[in-house]
């Protein structure tokens, strides 16, 4: 990496960190915080996870390890492996939100038995439901990975 343009100082200068590395680090941080958050919901608050929640976790949990692996040493190819998982997770989260908000009819629900996917566990500040939290995480992760992809030379 050569000299950075003036507009791009905020991520690079303070500790001398490479901006791509910092971006990826934030992606890893979001994945880790979301993973711990989902574990907190099920093991501390004892909310039973529904089927859709498990599918989203399948996309989320590996990112903690994959993104961390891409940090040491910085490997921009990590995007190639992490982005499909993130995209799948984002689609599932989006579908879950639609279901939760009753914009998709309940008959299309994949989970008839066990915990209902529209079960209301938590509404932080009146609008932050668990599926919405998931959607926010996946959206942030996707933006970071796409940004990294655009910045890479090839």
């Amino acid at each position: 990496m050569s000299e950075l343009p003036d507009g791009d100082v905020h991520t690079s200068s303070i500790w001398g960190l490479d901006p791509d590395w910092t971006l990826l680090f934030f992606g890893w941080l979001i994945a880790s915080a979301s993973t711990l958050g989902s574990l907190f919901f099920s093991y501390v608050m004892e909310f039973a996870p529904c089927v859709l929640c498990w599918y989203q976790r399948i996309c989320l949990f590996p990112l903690v390890i994959i993104l961390a692996r891409g940090l040491f040493p910085l490997d921009r190819h990590v995007v190639k492996y992490a982005l499909p998982l993130t995209a799948a997770g984002w689609l599932l989260a989006a579908y879950h939100c639609l279901l939760y908000a009753k914009w998709v009819p309940a008959s299309m629900q994949p989970c008839g038995k066990g915990v209902s996917c529209t079960e209301e566990y938590l509404e932080l500040f009146g609008f932050l439901s668990i599926p919405f939290l998931s959607l926010i995480s996946f959206t942030a992760l996707m933006s970071i990975l796409i940004a990294l992809k655009r910045r890479s030379p090839e």
Partner: protein, 217 residues
């Protein structure tokens, strides 16, 4: 630098998780303690089957599912505690039939209560649980032949269990289980304090602590 930042972040995240967990548990226990004082009826309803002296100051509330194996295996621990402190413990049964079909078995228990055979029937169902449950499902057909063992009039049970008052009992217990955050069975509360962590030894310790507090020597 990067490695230190990474390692420090890992530590902060993990520490945050455990601090959050301990904070949440303390907060939850305090909230339940408050509920035990202000809304004692959420823990014990007039319809709830109880065992032990009315003067007892230590209430053990057990949210149970007759089809739940762990509930059955906890049954002797409560008995041991009651034998160890005669007259000081009152045991309350609440229903949380989370297994498929277990609500029917709860209806049978309530009908057995009308014949004065509640505790005998509960004990029988726990003891013979393996014969009437398979893969966490209730085989109701296997329950009927067991009932005469404790002297129940099965035909009367079949009529009584359809009483809408029994449906109301079930509904109330499930609503209270939800209000108290019982999502797994058995759900124990000793004078409103939830069993945390779960296990026979923590239960014995919780009961002992509560007896020491209520009956100082």
């Amino acid at each position: 630098m990067k490695r230190i930042l990474f390692a420090a972040t890992c530590l902060v995240l993990i520490a945050g998780f455990f601090l959050g967990a301990s904070y949440y548990k303390t907060w939850r226990a305090a909230e339940l303690g408050f509920m035990a004082q202000e809304h004692a009826s959420t823990f014990v309803r007039p319809h709830s089957p109880t065992l032990g002296s009315d003067d007892a100051k230590v209430y053990i509330v057990k949210f149970t599912d007759p089809a739940c194996e762990t509930c059955a295996s906890f049954s002797p621990f409560v008995k041991q505690a009651m034998d160890a402190s005669p007259g000081q413990i009152k045991f309350v049964i609440r229903y949380a039939p989370f297994h498929e079909g277990a609500d029917e078995v709860v209806r049978i228990l309530e009908a057995a209560k009308r014949q004065g055979k509640f505790w005998e029937t509960l004990e029988l169902l726990y003891r013979r649980q393996a014969t009437w449950t398979r893969h966490h499902r209730v085989l109701l057909g296997e329950v009927w032949p067991l009932l005469p063992e404790v002297g129940l009039d099965v035909e009367r049970v079949k009529v009584d269990m359809r009483d809408p008052r029994i449906a109301a009992v079930l509904e109330q217990d499930l609503a209270d289980a939800e209000a108290l955050g019982v999502r797994k069975t058995p759900g124990f509360f000793v004078n409103g304090k939830p069993l945390e962590p779960f296990g026979p030894r923590p239960l014995a310790e919780l009961i002992k602590a509560e007896i020491r507090e209520q009956y100082p020597e």
